[in-house]
């Protein structure tokens, strides 16, 4: 296990992307929640996964990240090394799960489990906290921070491990506009630093602000996968038109 960690930590920088999702199907309790989804996500573009509740957005992200196993189909990365693949992704959840310890320790914990040596952890964690504007709160118990600050800790934790891909699942759904703006700024900075961003949202404004391309899901099926400008300008499907118009959908 330690050897595997060492190898993973020192693996040459082969590209992790593109990510190919092939005929991905997920069923739970006899219900098909994701139905035969195939798509390819490349480097560079910010991908926003949209769709009404129950469309399968979160499910798609969790399957891509490896938190769930598909019933059928598969998730294929350009890199063919399970350990390295997992290590080069990060995931930010709707509700940040922070450990009951200091803000700094939350980030160093993630670094420790990413195989970063003890000597480097503190500096890298502080650097990440500074980037999200929380350097001054490093010593505070993470659970006592505000909701927006907690989500920034989650982002710092994700950034510190220097992922190739960052998944965000409704990361600002519980936050007020000001905290949302801060989070979007951090996501934008990570994008500019070369991190592939894949996020779900049902906030249309956020999708317009952040998206380079849109993956539109409806009832577990992939309906559209197009550049954002074209999608918002001329949605092809009736479901997407209804969603963009704010009509209540079946």
């Amino acid at each position: 296990m330690f050897l595997a960690r060492l190898v993973a930590a020192t693996a040459p920088d082969e590209p992790l992307l593109p990510l190919s999702v092939e005929n991905l199907t997920f069923e739970a309790g006899g219900t098909r929640l994701l139905d035969n989804v195939s798509l390819t996500l490349g480097q560079g573009m910010r991908t926003v996964v949209m769709g009404p509740n129950g469309a399968g957005k979160s499910l798609l992200l969790r399957l891509c990240h490896g938190l769930l196993r598909p019933t059928r189909g598969r998730v294929r990365w350009a890199l063919d090394d399970g350990e390295a693949v997992r290590r080069r992704q990060a995931f930010v959840f709707q509700r940040p799960v922070l450990l009951r310890r200091s803000t700094l320790a939350n980030v160093t914990f993630a670094l420790a489990h990413a195989g970063v040596t003890l000597r480097c952890r503190r500096d890298r964690a502080m650097e990440a906290l500074e980037r999200v504007g929380l350097g001054h709160l490093a010593g505070r118990p993470a659970r006592l921070l505000s909701g927006g600050e907690q989500q920034r800790v989650a982002l710092a934790r994700a950034w510190a491990i220097r992922p190739d891909v960052l998944f965000l699942d409704e990361a600002t759904a519980n936050l007020d506009p000001s905290a949302t703006r801060t989070i979007e700024g951090i996501v934008q900075a990570m994008h500019e630093a070369g991190v592939k961003i894949v996020l779900t949202t049902h906030d249309l404004g956020q999708a317009r602000r952040l998206a380079d391309e849109i993956v539109f899901l409806h009832k577990g099926r992939l309906v559209e996968h197009r550049p954002a400008a074209a999608f918002f300008e001329r949605p092809r499907s009736e479901q997407a038109r209804a969603f963009l118009d704010g009509r209540l959908m079946e």
């Binding site: 969790r62 990240h65 938190l67 990060a90 799960v97 450990l99 914990f109 489990h113 990413a114």
Partner: protein, 234 residues
């Protein structure tokens, strides 16, 4: 004023005058039960946490068994430890029977399932909350155990208190393996049992009062500390 009233008055007098015999009995009680809980916790907390995070065949059965063992009768534990430590028993040569060490062993066995079962439940609940995040960070179940135990620390205090309450209040195990020898293995509960049967109600009642007061004091301190730590540490 009945006999009860006179006994209560005499008991208060014993407590307030700092009676040496009473102090010795209380001291030994605390020493035995605290040691037992400490030893039990060292085994039970990691074991309970492992049972919460690991998935293996027969795990459900083990959980049921563990929960059932919470109700282990003290006299049965006392009997088993007695058999093991008696001269003819497998550990007879150690010469531990009728010593405080034997009492610590018996109480540790008694409270281990309690602490383990409560730890398992606490850690299982916490793990449900942390599962996806830990998986995302690449933390394997085994590696998650220390982190989960540490994050459950405030709730686990309750498990320790439950163990301590059980240990300090039980009489069946310590009377069998300790023998209630004055000045050597006499603790609060065994003394109460003996003095009551002898008719020395003031000492019995005094010990009873101390026992209840201690239980209240320990729990109040723990409750206060828990609240304070939660506020300070999140």
């Amino acid at each position: 004023m009945t006999e009860l009233g006179r006994a209560a008055a005499a008991a208060l007098d014993l407590i307030l005058s700092g009676d040496a015999e009473l102090a010795g009995i209380v001291g030994l009680s605390l020493q035995v039960s605290l040691s037992a809980v400490l030893i039990a916790a060292l085994v039970a907390m990691p074991a309970g946490a492992l049972l919460a995070v690991l998935r293996f065949p027969g795990r459900g059965l083990l959980v049921v068994l563990l929960n059932a063992l919470m109700g282990l009768p003290p006299v049965v534990v006392g009997l088993l430890v007695y058999l093991a430590l008696s001269r003819a028993g497998p550990l007879g040569s150690w010469g531990l029977l009728f010593t405080p060490t034997a009492m610590i062993v018996a109480q540790a066995i008694l409270v281990t399932p309690i602490i383990a079962a409560l730890t398992r439940q606490t850690v299982a609940d916490l793990q449900e909350e942390y599962r996806e995040q830990l998986a995302s960070l690449g933390v394997r179940p085994l590696a998650a155990v220390p982190a989960l135990l540490w994050d459950a620390r405030f709730s686990l205090l309750t498990a320790l208190l439950a163990g301590l309450g059980r240990a300090v209040a039980e009489v069946g195990a310590v009377i069998i393996v300790g023998g209630n020898i004055a000045g050597v293995t006499r603790v609060m509960t065994t003394a109460i049992a003996l003095e009551t049967s002898k008719g020395d109600l003031p000492l019995a009642l005094g010990l009873g009062m101390v026992l209840v007061a201690l239980a209240v004091a320990i729990n109040a301190t723990a409750f206060g500390a828990q609240g304070l730590l939660r506020r300070v540490q999140g």
